[in-house]
Symmetry: D2
Subunit: 449 residues, 4 copies
């Protein structure tokens, strides 16, 4: 790492060395700085945080914030937890002003008193995080810090309330208006492409040759959201294949193929959607991305008529196992598909298919979580975005993971321009899952069985 010339940060140095400035000893001297920077990172970080919340001039804030971000990066896991506890215990809000402001508001609950109350109630760590964010590259560092916090809060639930402050700020900073969609292809910088390679977890890639196969052919597209301050970090990305007709299996999309002339394509298939940063969990923008991709593609390729996904069934195996405990047919099916003899036995596939498809239809359309929404998380995402459930495919994905979790089942969700809002509303209002006639027939079959 290149040496960084650090401006003299007398406040920080004094905070660390506890010295007052005197005429004879210069806290701004290189020696004082060197001495200060030799302290352990946790000590440097806490000192920097104190300075950031002090009366330091705004221009100097940037340098102290950089110091803090750098010190945080050097902390080990235990020190990070210590830091989070410190944030919780020392960067909250003072009780007295809250009481006073509340009293004033309770007496006269007008906008001015509400604003005053709001000011006192905001935990001081929000201001701290905003100031840390002044450092170059800090936004991404704060996203990683939240990922650390989420991990730490699993062990120590008392840290969980801190997350509200991170969410509050990250939601504001990663506002959809700040996100920039960019197409990613074989002309993109390698520094971005290696992240796509690393973050792709739906259908992982073996290396650069496979990456090229997904980005370079004329019938492939990849789009990602970027944020102005996190540079080359693709926050979320979707991989798209242009096809004729709706594909019913993933393998043909991932293999090397003679590419299709995009102008001959009638369908855009979203076959992999990945969120990159665990520190942005719950700050979703996948729906914005898909909508913008549909807009970009339909402008670019007027011949496209269908926008579908090819999506996994991540909870199907587990659900079928649960069904199996109460239902003999389900138990038999679970056993047969679990054996995997069908993988290489085409006849057995033919034989099992009706039962698998009809069970999957029940899984996607009838199985609900406690809130009444579909049990399948991917279904919740796409249906909640305004898609409809279109076609179930089996066998559609023979990768080990896909067999383990979904018995090889995949489903196409369909985005229909002009119907997206209505479907979204229906879904939100009463969990209505719009679906094709084909799926309705599979349900009928299931009912009859």
């Amino acid at each position: 790492m290149a040496k960084r010339s650090r401006p003299f940060l007398s406040d920080l140095i004094r905070a660390l060395t506890g010295e007052r400035r005197t005429r004879d000893r210069d806290p701004d001297s290189p020696e004082a700085l060197e001495q200060a920077l030799a302290r352990p990172p946790l000590e440097r970080l806490l000192a920097a945080c104190d300075v950031l919340m002090g009366h330091l001039g705004e221009a100097a804030l940037v340098a102290v914030a950089e110091e803090a971000v750098e010190a945080y990066a050097e902390l080990d896991t235990a020190d990070r937890v210590t830091f989070f506890r410190h944030l919780r215990d020392h960067f909250g809000a003072d009780a007295a002003p809250i009481r006073a402001a509340y009293a004033a508001w309770a007496e006269a609950p007008d906008a001015a008193n509400l604003a005053a109350l709001f000011r006192t109630v905001e935990p001081r760590r929000q201001q701290l995080l905003r100031r840390l964010n002044m450092a170059a590259g800090a936004t991404l560092a704060l996203v990683h810090m939240r990922a650390d916090l989420l991990r730490a809060a699993k062990q120590e639930p008392d840290l969980a309330p801190l997350d509200a402050d991170f969410v509050h700020l990250l939601t504001s900073w990663f506002n959809r208006g700040f996100l920039q969609m960019r197409r990613i292809d074989w002309h993109s910088p390698a520094a971005i492409l290696e992240k796509i390679l690393a973050y792709e977890s739906v259908h992982p890639m073996a290396g650069w040759d496979e990456l090229r196969r997904r980005l370079d052919p004329v019938d492939r597209r990849c789009y990602a959201f970027f944020h102005p301050t996190t540079g080359n970090e693709p926050l979320i990305f979707v991989e798209v294949a242009l096809t004729r007709g709706t594909p019913g299996a993933i393998a043909p999309l991932l293999e090397e193929n003679q590419p299709l002339d995009p102008e001959d394509a009638d369908t855009a298939v979203f076959y992999s959607i990945n969120n990159s940063l665990s520190g942005l969990r719950g700050i979703s923008f996948g729906n914005f991305l898909l909508k913008q991709v549909v807009a970009a593609l339909s402008q670019d390729l007027p011949g496209l008529q269908h926008y579908v996904t090819l999506s996994p069934a991540p909870g199907f195996a587990k659900w079928l196992a649960a069904e199996a405990e109460q239902d003999a047919d389900a138990a038999r099916l679970a056993e047969q598909v679990g054996e995997r003899r069908w993988v290489h036995d085409f006849e057995l596939q033919q034989q099992l298919r009706p039962a698998v498809l009809s069970a999957a239809a029940r899984y996607f359309l009838r199985a609900k979580n406690p809130t009444g929404a579909p049990l399948d998380p991917v279904a919740r995402f796409h249906l909640g975005n305004g898609a409809s459930a279109d076609r179930i495919n089996w066998p559609a994905d023979l990768a080990g993971n896909a067999l383990d979790r979904g018995h090889g089942v995949m489903i196409n969700y369909r985005y229909e321009l002009g119907l997206i809002e209505t479907r979204h509303e229906d879904f939100v209002r009463d969990n209505t899952v719009t679906h094709s006639d084909e799926l309705e027939k599979l349900l009928d079959l299931a009912r009859r069985a």
Copy 2:
């Protein structure tokens, strides 16, 4: 304005038309849309705001936010005030949840209860503004909305509390980490340059030829901060001249000159700093800009040794007039400089100079506002940034405005790398105004007089 194809926004349409969706009538029809969009803009705006705060899918939010931003732009001043009142009265926070959350926190003032209280206390308009910000171009629109609000609040002080919400969000969005410094020169897009031309108010320009004179010569620089979502809008910019020695008058910098080879320059003069958007008042980043410009210039031109301003004395005339009421000498001086005969009389200039300089020294170094800080606003800015007061010049600016407000006085503030933080701290702690020996002598002169 180009026609925009609007996606069907059934929620918005229903909000406007008050209709429920029925099987026989299609709220998504083009006719329904057209009918809805024919409503007056205030009605459309309020409906859009309601929809934005409802359970609408996030993807549809963007379209509704665009609708709202567009409708706001069509409002006249009276309707804008109505809208602000509406924001104040209907987008505050509900009292009951605040009371409950406060009670819980009062009993157990831990981080979790604080977070819960914070959530209830946040005025709902903050969420509204965040959602409006999803529209393309909305950030700038919201900055302009705040400018409208500030104007309206002058007439109607009850609107002032709303500003806290704008400030809260704009401070977060215009965080220094999101600002990008760019150099502006004659190769910059005309669409940016025309804004420089329009926003330059310290030393206004007559037209493109003068603009070129300030940007194109090799001994000129101009830097501005831009924000990723406000595109070509320079938020703040500084004009720089590269010189040998510290200039004592503005005219030679603005006239056509044989440019100096930048490698021969030893001084960078910041002779004009302009904030562009009144809607960002109080969300300052001038100090960041100057600091980053100094860094860029010293990297680019290692020969530079001095960083000074050439700044006006905007309150000098007013201050001298006030002095004149109590002091005969000041009264005589005020009369003589006010007459302006000296403008064309070199001998008279020579004769008046000592008195003008020493009065100006008192103005800059001794005159204070009620908080004990320098009376001169530009002095507060530069001294607060860590500069020192270096040299007073007279006559230095003979433009009408400069004569009216400052009797033609200008001052150089000096930025010394490595001393900026210390000076800033001294200034913040006890209003210490670091200044040169030369100015000290002028003060002595004043004292003796």
Copy 3:
């Protein structure tokens, strides 16, 4: 102009100082360099040319070429002529090798002998120009040098043969494959826009406001060809207005207007085409530009159905004057339109229009130059590109120049995709001028009169 650090160019220095390198005296010393560079520019240029044609290493060539280009720029007109004479007399081809190569070829006229002959016959100045072209910015400097040569050759026809060498090289360097079309609009660098302002000679602009009116509105387009090595220099540019219907007068296009939504436009009007550099005369790429603009526009705006020009009639007044000497009707018409009373007399316009239009029809369609091509140079350009003559308009341009040269007449040429090649061929083969029925009727009228 910034100082340039010059590498030590010992060859050049020695060529200038006539010194041989010795052990005791260092030709590479800064003193020797300074001394050499103090010589008059013509001397420096000729020395540099000698060095360039010598055995100097290629890396050093760049520096010497820069020296030469800089020295040339300092020459006055007389010295430039001297330099051209020098090029003619000392950078031709040696006679003996030509004779030998010719003899070999005459005996065995095969490809190898032809190649050998070609090598001997190429004037050495072509190699010199290629080497000069190694300097940064040299391509544009050589274009300007050719412009100087063309001017000089008017006075001194013996210089004319040099032009063949410039044409040979410039044709190769400005090969269409190297040209890049770029759209120019209000976001283009001011450094480019000021050139558009300067080079526009068909309908000159008063200043930046008018420039903005032609570039910024959504119904305007401007495209130019650029060359990779001439940077911001637009070699040729065309200004386009998007309209409904074919315009019959220039003024409405140039005035401030409510812009038309481009998606409502059915017609693209090329109303001004300008070649920028006189040093590229005869190295035409106007036809490539128009063709590429048509392609770009039709892709961008599928609603466009018509591509027409609005072109002047630069030789009409002169032609009519010549006709007037032999024909009484023409004489009367020439007198009436020459008086210009009609400019403000609408009734007189009505009365004169049939005669003007029919005379103009004869001018455009019947008047020929000695080679049998249309007399009108703009007609030759567009018809030669494959356009047809579509409609004559009068009064269409009341600008002084347009009245003087064309009595206010303008004409629309029409480019029809799919017919361009055929029309071009017909025109080339037998000067066929495809024209509309409307023009045919005007000719009939003329015949009958």
Copy 4:
């Protein structure tokens, strides 16, 4: 490959179909086009060439040139040879005009007659190649065409004269003034990086991980020349390592290392220089590149004091084998180093080193080719560029190829700013090989032995 909409090319169609245009049959019809394009590629290519040399309008030329370039790409090797023969036999120059022009020139050998002679002597294929070059992407296609020609001419020497025409044009098009140096790093497009991976032949790379190791660390640089019309094709590139001190072996540079802070580096090592396109053989720009890299690095990193190469000794083994036939010492040395036992025997290395170094010194400094220049081709390149021979290293490269050709020897050449031109001249004038005292001592050793 995406379908390309082809404009109607009536000339080309008629050339292919042999039809004359008639009123009843439309050569511009899609059917006629389809029919024409179904012909074999050689036929289409020859027809396109005829059309290109005809009187076709320039705008249509682009389309026909694209047709020709595409047809050429479809030819097999035999057809390419047929095409080259066709170029040789049918696109030469007509004898009669040459004779006439020569006679005129012989009588009056002035510039005008020389220009006229030049015109007649230029083979028509040069015009053809210039016109082919109008197609998008044609420049690179023509470079590849020349590579085909060079291969073909090895079998059929009668084709060799064609190369003169290619060289003539490519020299002009790849003029140094048109080349753009760009830095290549891990942020470069993957489409460029995969070419670096493919073209690196001096020290080949195993894959993307190794590529990243050469491009991403802060102490590595890579620069390439690009041409505006060949897009992402790096014509030549050099890989650079920043080090402290001159490296004596290649392996440490290629392995994974803790990177050095560039500001701590004092040496830039050019350890691999690769020409990418065999079709540009003999059109050299390596010297320009090195010189420009030195300039860029010294600007970027003022701390750099040494610019050296780490270069192979590609002919050393062969030369030593030849020496061995006449000299017993050389024979023994050749045997010992050829055995390669020393590779793993450190003591044997120590023992052999003096003899290897002194033999290598003789090889680099004394062994000459028939023209008196150094026998080693890499030495000729660097010494001819103005470098000096600085240090011989052994064992320095244990890769198989390096052992086979150079017995593991490598050499550092040194570029010294301010001495480059002088050394270049000395080398060109009398093959003087400037070398270090260290090498002189090795020569002494060799002499004494």
